[in-house]
Symmetry: C2
Amino acid sequence: MELLKNKVLQEGKVLSGKVLKVDSFLNHQMDPVLMKEVGREFTRRFDGERITKVLTIESSGIAPGIMTALELNVPMIFARKQKSLTLREDIFVEKVFSFTKQETNEITVSRKFIQPGERVLIVDDFLANGEAAFGLARIVEQAGAEVAGIGIVIEKAFQPGRRVLKEAGYRVESLVRIGSLEDGQVTFAEDGE
Amino acid sequence: MELLKNKVLQEGKVLSGKVLKVDSFLNHQMDPVLMKEVGREFTRRFDGERITKVLTIESSGIAPGIMTALELNVPMIFARKQKSLTLREDIFVEKVFSFTKQETNEITVSRKFIQPGERVLIVDDFLANGEAAFGLARIVEQAGAEVAGIGIVIEKAFQPGRRVLKEAGYRVESLVRIGSLEDGQVTFAEDGE
């Protein structure tokens, strides 16, 4: 997605060989026109997948998630992150480890919002190790629903997230794939597999 | 806003005399078409205010915030909530007390995203005691910018938020005003003052 590549080149800040800061348009300040285009592009890529719901995770997934849900004309759910939790029967819970923050969070979704047989599109802002996307996928499957696909705004292709998710059988579509952040430079990876 | 009133009546759950649960369309699952209408309505109400930026707070403010920013064609920022924080020079910080959760959070915004002279529209999902909106307003003023107005999706008019914000000189526009949640029933308050 050219618009997004240009934004990454113009405004992304390479903080290390692994960390790209995009807080001017995706993670803190958000560009609503870009988010709308992100929603359109996911809708185009997952055309024909009969999606009934979009699932994302707070907080940075919500804007691309709601724009995708608007284009698809289906509801969106955002999973909540919590440090720890009293067990409750009315929610799905999965543990998700964050390599960046070196901590485990519990992510939760109310059982009433995902029904058996639904086809759920998972949307997230970043893909690195795939832990968050995997946690969301496990929640969809706990509900007896199907993962229609995983839509990622920015993939760090030099980390194992895509491989791990594909090996588990999920279709992953990333709008921008970063091949490397070495020497303070963003290099894009080829699209696709 | 009739569409929103109907949604509150059909799907809102009164949990107590003070708590209305709207997790099927605003706080957990979100209705994107409704959020788009919310954005349009705020844009209509704040027409002529020369707004340069929308400011909201994670997580439930993000969807109404981004839709409003899209209609206004300006960037959106979401403030982050944290339990406690090491002081940093590059961020604005305000303390916000939550009566619901009986805890104080620090809310933060990067200094680089609000410039002196900007006109900022604050958007949030709920107004009760006004603590969050006030914290966001203080951040705007720390930046040397102006609060163009405060747009609230659902106001609990039986709590003091609106009065407190108006006494401080802010313009408050709520799309739905709840007058009472007594006896498990939603009663709407009149629009306006």
